[in-house]
Symmetry: C2
């Protein structure tokens, strides 16, 4: 089924297709902070594969929420930013961030958020524990 042919029953479904999934909201959230290059986004989003980042950005661009600027030069330089239209989502992304932190507080009593360095180490630790 072509995505352009896909039908929906309620708007909620549509929005989920655009900003849902494992990575899109995280990518968009980083773009709220301003224009970013491909590898910059990759660094900001630990554990995302090169393939997935490229794929998700392509979909976000296709959906018009992200703009892609290709400085045609060697080595390649490409920048991504929120489109004017995509900026309508900033409010939601901020709310997600705020609500998510509050949720951890309510459920676990701590924020359970990690610094960059901790996180990478933690990934290893969790593999050990398997």
């Amino acid at each position: 089924m072509e995505k352009s042919q896909k039908k929906y029953r309620i708007g909620v479904e549509v929005t989920l297709d655009v900003i849902g999934g494992k990575w899109k909201s995280i990518i968009l959230y980083h773009l709220v902070g301003g224009t970013k290059r491909f590898n910059e986004l990759k660094r900001l989003t630990p554990n995302i594969s090169h393939k997935m980042l490229a794929q998700q950005l392509k979909e976000l661009e296709h959906d018009g929420v992200v703009l892609r600027h290709d400085y045609v030069e060697v080595p390649p330089k490409v920048e991504y930013e929120l489109s004017e239209y995509g900026q309508e989502l900033i409010g939601v992304l901020d709310f997600f961030c705020y609500w998510g932190e509050a949720h951890l507080d309510r459920v676990y009593g701590d924020k359970r958020l990690m610094l960059e360095g901790e996180f990478l180490d933690d990934q290893e630790a969790q593999k050990e524990a398997d």
Copy 2:
């Protein structure tokens, strides 16, 4: 990895775990309209399997955004509703609905939303087209 042990880097990830995925936001959206019984939700969410609905509701309950009321009787009667805490999400769900419809307008020029009857038929038509 136990979910209770999972670590996050930004609140956005947390919120996605709670209301993201293929079904949760849709289920929550229906609950905005008021308390619903299990089969009622199943009817409101075409194509969801019995198993998935049960599973997603269980997770939503565990995360504290949905309350489960079991009228201990035969035949069983169980109702679900948004918790006070879950009601903080109503604003976002409404925005999703609004933004999603607007998105279809902007991208395709029509709403591409279907009535209940149409939708079921359409599912068949799309299978044919494969």
